[in-house]
Each structure stands twice: as C-alpha cells, then as structure tokens.
Symmetry: C2
Subunit: 548 residues, 2 copies
C-alpha cells in the first residue's frame, strides 16, 4: 500500500484540538484499558465459553423439550458473540470495515457461504455467526458516517431481539394485541409532535414506501376512480417536488401509474430550499395545460444537504390550489423532538401527510419508518380490500384495531416495539439531548471545515446535521476554488473513498449533486460520536488526499 | 364462564388415539418433568438473576465504554427473558394467548404503555420486556394454527438477533458485503429449485409486496411507456387470477394504476383449481374488447384451501397469448424442497416470476419473502432511478452488486441472513423432512375429520397441508349436511373461536369462502406439532361447540 496514514496504528495519534467538554462525554478510554472479550466474559459467566457441547448437535434437537437447557445455552452463546461484537464496534481502536471485493470475499468465505443437502452442527452455526460478523461493515462504529442511519442503540437491539422471539404479524389485533396498542401510542405521540389533533398512520418498510403511501393517498383523494378503473382515462396527473428531494418520489410516481415524466421538479435557491415562486408558476402552468396536480412534496431535511423547505409557504400554496401537501421528513422529521430545532419544520401542521423515519436521526435499528396523515380514514379508503379470510367483521373484538386494511402490504413486520422501548428508556428528553448533541457537533465540524486548509464547504449555513465539503489536494490549493476544474475535482472524493475503504478506518459518503462535482457528506445520527471523531475524520481525509 | 373444557387443567387429559410413531418425535414431556425457568438458569448461570444493578441505571450509560460489562450483562438478561419465553412457548401446558379486549389491555398495561418526557431505568426496561411478552400471542406454540406462519425456529431467532446487531441496509454491497453475497447464494438456490438456469430476484417485505413486483414487471414488459408517462393513455390493461387467489393481486392492480375492476377472476373447479377453459375464454374476450392482458397469476397453494393451480397448462396458455405468467407460491412454493411434493408445482419452470415466502412453510421468522424472475435485468428495468447520491458508478468495486436499483424500496431490511443460517443448519434435507412431516400430519388430520361425528370437510382431497372443515353442533347432526342453513352454520365458527380465545388453549383461523359459510382452516407449518396436538384441537372444538 502506497500510503500509511489510514493504517491502524495511526488511530492512536494524539491531537491538540480544543473541544467543548459536553460534546465529548463519550470519549473512549485508551485501547489498552479495555479488557479482552474473554476476560470480560469470565467476570460474570462462570462456564468457560467452549462450544464442544454443540459439536455434533443439530438444530432439530432444539425442538425437543428435553433439550431446553441446550437451547437456552445456545442462545446465550449467540448473545455473547453479539455483545462482543457490539463492544468491539464501539472501540475506536477497531476498524470500521475490512474491505474485500465481491469475488475476493466469495473466495474467502467459500467454505462457509455454501448451502447444500447437509445440515451443519450447532458448533458450525456459532462459527458461521462469528465469521459473518468478521466481514460486516460496523455501522455502529463512531467513525461510520456512510449513511443517514448510523449507531447501534442497545435498547433498540433488545427491542429487535424481543420482536424476533414474539415473531408476530401486525395485520390483526388478534395476533399482535400489545404491539397494536404500542403502535397506537407511538403514532399518537408523533402526530402530537406534528401538531395534529387527529389523524392516522402506519409503519412502513422504509421511507421510500412511506413516500409511496403519501402519493397513493393524494391519488385516492383527487382521482378516487383510479382505485376501481386504474389511471387510464384519468388525465395527466402530476406531482411537484424540489430538485433536492429524494428519488423515492419519482419511484412512487412510476409505481402508481403516474409516470416519471409527470414529476415536476421545482427549482431551489442556493442553499437548496424550494423556491415558492417557481412552485406556484409550475402549478399554474400545469393547471393551464389541463394537468391534475395531486401532491406537493416538501423536504424536512434533504438527503444530501440536510435542507428544510419553507413548509409554511408550501402549505399555503397547497391550500390555495387544493393540492395534497406531503412532507418528506425521513431524515429531518425527528427535529420535532428538539425544542431548539423544531422551528425548522415551522408550518408542518399544515401538511396532509408526513414521512418520518425513526431509524435515521433517532437511531432506531433498521427498519423503522412511519407514514402519518392528518386525515383519519384515508389509509383504509385507499387500501381497503376487505379480504374476509383475514379481516372478518364477525370477530369477538373491536375489529377497528385490525390495521391490515390500511396497508399496501398484507403481513407486516413489527417495527414499533424497538422504538417504543427506546422511547421508554430515553423519554422525550433523551431523544432531545441526542438530537441537540448531533446538531452541535455538526456546527463544530462546519467551523473546522470552514477554516481548514484544503477543505471547501458546499453550503456555508447548515440546518440538519449534514456537513458537505470538497477536499482540495495540495496541488490546487493556490488556485481560487472557482478555478478548479469540476471534472478533475469530481475524481478526488472517489479516490479518497477507495483508500478509506482499503484502510478501513472510517466510512463517509460522497456524491455529486446537480452540477456540483463529487463531495463528501458527513451526517450525524450516532449518539457516540465526539469532536475527536470529527477531527480524526478531517485529519484522515487530509492524509489520504493531500498528495493526489 | 359457562364451559370448562377450554380451561387449563383440561390440557392434561389423556387420550387413546393411535399415532404413527414418526409423527410424534417431538412429544412433550409431562409438565411436571420440566424444571422451572429459575432452576434451569441456575444450572449454568452463576450469577443470581436479580436486576438490582440495573435499578437507577439509564440507557445512556451503556454508551460509555467503561460500562461495556453492564451492556453485556443487560443483553444477557434480555436473552434469559427471551429464552424463558421460548421454552414456555414450547410447553403445551402453557396457554397460547391470554386474551383481553383492546380497552381492557390498555387499562391493564396502562402503567407501562405510556411514553413521556422521562427516561425509565434499565430495570424498568427489563420489566417492560417481560410485561410485553406476557400479553403476546404465542405464535410458536404447538397449538397456534391461526396463520400460515407458525412456529419459532431457534436458528432463525439467532439469525434475527445477528441481523439486528449488524444493523445494515441491503441497498449497496458497500455496507452489506456479506449479506449481499448470501442473498445471491440463496436466490440462486431457489431459482435452481424452480428449474431456471438464469434469473434474478430480491427479498421483499412480505408476499403482497412480492406479488406487487410481479405485476409491476409484467406492466414494464408490455407497457414500458408507463414508467415514463404513467398509465393514462395506455389503454385498458388487465390481469387474470383465480377466484381463490390472494387479495394482494387486486391490491397490486390498484396500486399500479391498473384498477381493481381490471382484475379478471377465473372460475375454479370444485377443488378450487383454476379452470383452464375459463382462463382462455376470458383472455380471448378481453383481447376482443381491446384490453391488454398483462399477467396471469397461478396459485401454488391457495391461502385457504391450499390448492395448486395447473401450472403447466397455465404456462402454455400464457406462452400462446404472450402474457406474463406469475406463480404466487407464498404459501405452497416451499414444496419445491420436497421430492415427494414438488410435483404439485409441475410446470413452474415455465413461469416468468414466482413469489415464495420462506417465512411460511419453511418456518423462517417474519419477514422473509422473495420475488424471483427468470428474466435477468427486468427488476432494474422497472425500478432503476439511478440516484447518484447512493448508486455512484465511480465506486472502487463492481457496482453490479448494489441491489438498490432493483427494488421499489430505498433502504431494505436484511431478510436473508436468518434464512441462510437456517439453511446451513438444516440443509435441504432438514427442510424436506420438516415439510414432509407437515404434509403427513395434514393427511392424518384429514382422516380424523372425515370420520369424526360433528365435523364436515370442505374439500375431501388436499394438496398443501391445509385442512378445512365445518363444525356441526349436536342439534344439527341428524340433518344431512346440505340441509343445514348456511346462515346458521356461518355463526358457529366465530362463536367457537371467541370461546377459544377466552380460554387461550389454541388458536385457529376461520373464514367464509365465496358462497361457503365460515369454516375452520388448520394449516401446518410448525415443526413441533404432533398428532396429539391435532387430536387435542378436534376434541377441544367439539367440547366448545357441541352444545351451541
């Protein structure tokens, strides 16, 4: 390898950056202070963790009640493997990933990737789990910034574990009584934070599906005949969304038979906010040419720049022209939990629907996304099929608790329990602290990037905790930024990222945006990050990219 | 309560039914033989399971590396709670559910359902988990027959636990390298079992979504302009499906802008199989009236009766008229794993796509559903949006491994690992045994129902392990079955079910079907059930319903 700055030993170098104390409450101890997994385990686990009793034992034996102790011990062994992984993941002295190309990884794992005729014994299964974890990207590592979902909340993990064991389906109260009530409690709280007195909602498998719901609800309101007769003959329906919005709005338009050409993109100002005048102009133009406006999508925290659209004004326009107002708050919707930052969503109560992904800024394990609407009954109106093998009305309980006819799915995974459990463990206050800390950290980083040689901010003022910047190698630093060729600059982030993946010390997303060449985006949602991690990240980029 | 036969003590009554030995390999020991959870735990867990160390400790402390031991112990405590639940769930002396009406349950759980400003300590969180499990329906209990997904596979649970901890997103190889390769391995094996040399597939959040994919792919093939311009002006597209098929085909037509009126239902014979002549007639009629046939959906195991459509003949018709042939094998597709039963899907290799839910007959924890297609590239063709913030083509690895542009989602939960791990643990052979056993059990039950007084089969010959029957109270037994008023008979199953839920000893689905009044469906997918469970179930229904 031609460079050494990404290497492991470099992780321990000391820095002299001044840090606000309260942002560093989670500072790691030195690696040498941390006892080994084995030592830790032996402190409270009396049996030595050898797996010999699982050798030659097969999973079918665990079905027999006489083997319930073995079942117990097997799952406890799994828990030890997993908690060791979590502890290591939190340790800054460990790598974020151990990268291999697909063909390499397939070769390396060949002995254990295969499935065939034969069963493997429980010892092999435990070993498979360890082997799998070895090559996983540590998405909970304090230096994983590659996605909007980062971190690993232990209570969330406990929630997922219980969810797996309760193994039920959210379609009816009959089989998911407690979780149905929890969904009601949580959705009510979320609607309350939005400022709606009434409404409805459902958990969906990800923000893209939540956005699909929104466009479906709008279609149902303005073109109810489409449910029966399809979109053929309905005229040209259109939806409006900002140029900075997530591609799932376009995907929704495609799926719903509206078509990607009928997504009308609204211009944004220099910061990336939807221009109200352009929105109104485009609505008027669409109406004049006989098109049917269904929905305007406003962003509460765009994917890349983290920008909030002017929701109040969009709401006004939507009311004026009678158009469904949806807010995609997949990323930035959680700011509603912070008294300091909820002003970013000023006007949200005017929205007809909102996408909100607790699996992003709130740090809930994947998947956890909600679609919320202020209009009670519309989810059923759009989705009800009255399948009488599942949603019998002659049941012995109040079947309005059966949520299955509100969804586009049939079976539905329980995504609410982990969120409910985390909310119990943190309270509003805990989520608020977590959010505020990440907003503060992003401002810390913004300042660092602003003043540091070789870094150039994409936008100077941020709203959500997204910091976007270009890295400028030494050879171009004497030029004014505007003189650096876009085509050349475009290659820098991918080159640095490739080296970053090889060295495994951190992971950061890059992307182009419109005319802008590739730049890095550091988005903060992991509650364990500190200013030191951010300093490390800048040093590391500098080290990897300086001589390019 | 007016009856006592559903009560707890009745569970222990002895029976004299002759049982084929091999179907009873999982017979329970007597309840008294089973040591208490506490005893079991103390046998290998040296620390007494008191939670005092978690009192006054809050989840935020678990973020600190100095508390990694506490984190470890907390998750081990959770594992103990969960394994105790699993052991109890497998115990026939425990109830399947403890039913309460929504308002009752809310009152009972009121002290712990709430979320508010304040955090709860870790002791409370452990207690919340225990409390939650208390009111869960035990879907893994040997007497839970309410859904097609039953049972709880311990290896599947281990898989879900690891999935939660690895907490990654399936959209790119970059963040899910191992799981991407596992998805490739598993999908290839599934396609191989179908008999396709090439093809593609993706895991989807449930069978309804997999069926949506199928209709979307068909729309993409015959109306590719819909992706750009929507369904308006595309003419009247139609899809064909049997009258016995799952409602998700209609839901897909609604979502995709085809409309529910454009779902053409094909008549079935007395056993519930699609009538080929009616299919051809309706295709011809549709074509003659200028409609555009997109897809024919054939069933591999209908939801209620478990019937397989004549796939070979449907395939021939689809080829003849150039229509996409989809097979909904959500329930019965897994039969491909059994050499004894795969003939039920004779002709499946002719299909263009297939839905297959390992979370049903294969017993994988929810959610695990695959959509498979023999046409490589069509998933991208239909779904590709080329979002360049996520699917950059200038990455340092072969980006054809990024699956995100094949899906209708953006983020996607890892549903493959648990299936992969179970396949490792069982091998093809283990799945085959599991399936064969349930098919055998269903035949055992069919015979019992056929000869038993007060029971009347809905269909005499079964294919998938679904046994459907009416229960006839004493007062009507002297009448020929055809003389019993449908309107009266319709009330019996709901009444018995209500009592069943109150007593909590078992849970079975009932539903009407077309003109047929409410009847019970017992579908077998749990590997722990034995003939004794089925005998118990018939005795119990008899006991609850005799005097109605």
């Amino acid at each position: 390898m031609a460079f050494d700055c990404g290497m492991f030993q470099k992780l321990k170098k000391t820095r002299n950056v001044q840090e606000p104390r309260d942002l560093n409450s989670q500072l790691p101890e030195k690696s040498s202070d941390v006892s080994t997994a084995r030592e830790r385990r032996n402190m409270f686990y009396c049996k030595s963790p050898d797996w010999s009793e699982f050798e030659g034992s097969f999973s079918r034996e665990l079905l027999e009640s006489k083997n319930s102790e073995k079942l117990h011990r097997f799952l406890i062994e799994i828990s030890h493997i997993l908690t060791d992984y979590i502890t290591k993941e939190n340790d800054r002295a460990s790598k974020v990933l151990d990268f291999h190309h697909p063909h390499q990884l397939r070769e390396m794992m060949d002995h254990c990737l295969d499935i065939d005729e034969n069963p493997r014994d429980l010892e092999q299964i435990l070993s498979d789990c360890k082997e799998t974890l070895k090559y996983c990207v540590r998405t909970g590592h304090p230096r994983f910034f590659n996605q909007l979902s980062t971190g690993l909340d232990v209570i969330g993990v406990a929630g997922e574990w219980l969810t797996a064991v309760s193994n039920t389906n959210m379609f009816t109260y009959e089989v998911a009584p407690v979780f149905t009530l929890m969904e009601e409690v949580i959705l009510k709280r979320m609607m309350n934070l939005i400022g709606w007195e009434h409404g409805d909602g459902i958990f969906a498998p990800g923000g893209a599906v939540s956005n699909l719901y929104a466009v479906l609800l709008a279609r149902q309101r303005y073109l109810p005949q489409a449910k029966l007769n399809g979109m053929n003959g309905c005229g040209e329906a259109v939806v409006f969304t900002s140029k900075q919005s997530h591609y799932s709005i376009k995907r929704a338009a495609v799926i719903l038979g509206i078509g990607s050409n009928n997504v009308i993109y609204i211009d944004c100002d220099q910061r990336g906010k939807m221009l109200i005048k352009d929105l109104e102009d485009k609505i008027l133009a669409a109406k004049q040419s006989g098109k049917i406006p269904l929905l305007v999508n406003g962003m509460a925290g765009t994917t890349v720049l983290g920008v909030y659209d002017p929701l109040e004004e969009i709401g006004e326009i939507c009311e004026k022209y009678g158009i469904w107002f949806h807010v995609d708050g997949a990323w930035g919707g959680s700011s509603l939990l912070s008294r300091d930052h909820r002003h970013l969503l000023h006007g949200i109560e005017r929205a007809d629907s909102m996408t909100w992904n607790p699996h992003k800024m709130m740090g809930v394990p994947l998947q956890c996304s909600a679609i919320l609407t202020k209009h009670k009954g519309v989810l059923e109106e759009a989705n009800q099929m009255n399948a009488n093998y599942l949603f019998q009305k002659d049941k012995n309980y109040d079947t309005s608790y059966d949520t299955g006819d509100k969804t586009i799915q049939c079976g539905r995974h329980n995504d609410v329990f982990k969120l409910w459990l985390m909310w119990r463990a943190k309270g509003d206050a805990g989520f608020e602290d977590q959010l505020n800390k990440n907003f503060d950290l992003s401002k810390y980083m913004l300042e660092k990037v602003r003043v540091r040689d070789g870094f150039h901010l994409v936008i100077e003022e941020i709203e959500a905790p997204n910091v976007c910047f270009w890295y400028i190698p030494l050879k171009w630093r004497s030029l004014p930024f505007s003189h650096i060729e876009h085509k050349q600059l475009n290659k820098i982030a991918p080159l640095i990222k490739a080296q970053m993946m090889e060295s495994g010390t951190m992971l950061i997303q890059y992307q182009p945006l419109g005319e802008l060449p590739n730049f890095f985006r550091v988005a903060m949602s992991n509650p364990v990050i500190t200013t030191r991690d951010l300093d490390f990240l800048l040093d590391e980029i500098d080290c990897l990219g300086k001589d390019l």
